[in-house]
């Protein structure tokens, strides 16, 4: 069964229709790449999954449970949306690390706050033990990201690539079922994109379920199990990367890909 099912999502901003009936599904352990020109609705789609935008129409299911249904207000209660968000992680294009906290605290903060709520009625000792576990896990994650020597640094002391790797660790710390990336390398200098892409590739090898919005075509082709090409708020074409990139069926896909291969 698919871990994520998106059914007929529509989203308007005022008069502008940004998403016009998006449907797709994603299997556990797969990486989905979404490609398309700027303004095609890719980012809005990710933001809908993370409840930063509310779709006007459509249904989102995770593991078969309806997480969001535009027709059903009981799926849109503010309190529950907070919990539902935790099914997803989101890595932003421009990182959005918390500047006043160290790298380590950036990774542990949200887990600590959640744990504090859950252990409200238990003693301080329980809380302290839980915090210790959280910190240990954060260190492991940062180690995986190659940032163990930076745990006590502040975000402004890091390069963009390092900041983005912290942001990835921060998202992973909450164990999301599905990790979303919104153009994770678009704000980086070309020489720094490699280190971030390497980390994402590592996650794919460990069968992390991911949705990756990207402009890095070679990377998408390499890492993704499935590729969606979006244009003007609809899915024009989707398939396995080797099919879609080598043998696109739609004229619009062909045009988009040729523009990219000629500009790169």
């Amino acid at each position: 069964m698919a871990i994520l099912e998106v059914e007929n999502i529509y989203k308007n901003f005022g008069e502008t229709q940004v998403l016009k009936g998006i449907s797709f599904s994603l299997e556990q352990g797969q990486a989905l790449a979404i490609i398309g020109a700027s303004g095609s609705g890719k980012t809005t789609l990710l933001r809908c999954l993370n409840f930063l935008e509310r779709p006007d129409k459509g249904i989102i299911r995770v593991n078969g449970d309806v997480l969001f249904d535009a027709q059903d207000p009981s799926t849109q209660l503010e309190k529950e949306i907070r919990k539902k968000r935790l099914n997803f992680g989101l890595v932003f294009q421009s990182f959005h690390l918390f500047p006043q906290y160290t790298v380590l605290k950036n990774v542990t903060l949200a887990s600590e706050l959640l744990t504090k709520e859950q252990l409200k009625h238990q003693g301080r000792a329980a809380l302290r033990a839980a915090y210790q576990d959280i910190e240990e896990q954060a260190r492991m994650l940062l180690d995986q990201m190659g940032l163990l020597d930076k745990v006590n640094a502040y975000p402004h002391q890091l390069s963009g690539g390092q900041q983005q790797r912290v942001a990835i660790a921060r998202a992973l710390a909450l164990h999301p079922k599905i990790l979303c990336f919104d153009e994770p390398t678009s704000a980086l200098d070309p020489e720094l994109t490699g280190e971030v892409l390497r980390v994402i590739r590592g996650l794919a090898e460990k069968k992390t379920t991911m949705v990756i919005v990207t402009h890095e075509m070679a990377f998408a082709r390499d890492v993704a199990d499935h590729v969606i090409f979006m244009d003007d708020g609809v899915i024009v074409e989707e398939g396995r990367p080797e099919d879609l990139f080598s043998n696109p069926k739609e004229e619009r896909t062909r045009q988009f890909l040729s523009r990219y291969s000629s500009s790169n």
């Binding site: 993370n50 409840f51 930063l52 907070r82 919990k83 968000r85 935790l86 997803f88 992680g89 989101l90 932003f92 421009s94 959005h96 690390l97 918390f98 500047p99 006043q100 903060l109 949200a110 706050l113 959640l114 502040y154 975000p155 402004h156 921060r170 998202a171 909450l174």
Partner: protein, 220 residues
């Protein structure tokens, strides 16, 4: 010489009123300003319109006028004066006027600071499952404090000197005290009030510099 020390002692005594007014204004206006800031940023239009109008009126009219109105208006309008007779009533009236006036100025500083924090910070907190209040207190607040510190220190230094306006309803603050000595042909007490203000403002400046330095460890 004994004349000098007596007068200085009386000036110092009078300056206590300035100091008390300063502290009370901060204690009440700093939190009240934050509430007003949230009111003016409210998505519920009637509330934001109302708060913005109040802020406009308070910032648009002289503090001196506000002190006079707050002290005299209730009695003259026949509601009975809430201030009572005597020095403590006059001081209370001045304090209320200062708190309202400064809360409105602070609210605008807060608003600028809060709106200046990038939306991405809130969104990052949201996708990490934080509640609105967690986001405000754990993510946004310190960044707001850092952003508004220069404007706040400016405003607070102005407040030190504005406390003298309380004399308009006969609160015996330092300048009023020194002014009385001109009738006895003495001008130097008046000059000396300036020294009191300079020292007080100097100490505040050092404090704010230290605070700014303390928040220097991060950039936002």
């Amino acid at each position: 010489m004994s004349n000098f020390s007596t007068i200085m002692a009386r000036l110092l005594e009078a300056f206590r009123l300035n100091g008390q007014l300063f502290i009370l204004t901060l204690v009440f206006a700093l939190p009240l300003g934050l509430i007003i800031a949230f009111g003016s940023m409210s998505r519920w239009k009637p509330l934001s319109l109302l708060t913005r109008t109040v802020v406009w009126i308070i910032r648009g009219t002289p503090l001196m006028l506000q002190i006079i109105v707050i002290f005299f208006a209730p009695g003259l309008l026949g509601w009975g004066s809430p201030w009572g007779a005597g020095a403590s009533g006059r001081f209370s009236a001045a304090t209320v006027a200062f708190v309202i006036n400064y809360a409105c100025y602070f609210s605008e500083i807060y608003r600028g600071g809060i709106q200046g924090v990038p939306k991405g910070q809130t969104e990052a907190g949201q996708v990490l499952g934080m509640t609105k209040s967690q986001i405000f207190f754990k993510v946004t607040l310190l960044q707001v404090v850092k952003r508004i510190l220069p404007a706040m220190s400016n405003e607070i230094i102005t407040l030190v000197k504005d406390t003298s306006l309380a004399r308009i309803i006969s609160n015996k603050e330092i300048i009023m005290m020194a002014h009385e000595y001109t009738a006895k042909g003495l001008i130097w007490p008046l000059f000396f009030t300036g020294v009191f203000f300079l020292v007080f403002v100097g100490a505040l400046t050092l404090l704010f510099n230290a605070l700014e330095k303390k928040l220097d460890y991060f950039r936002c």
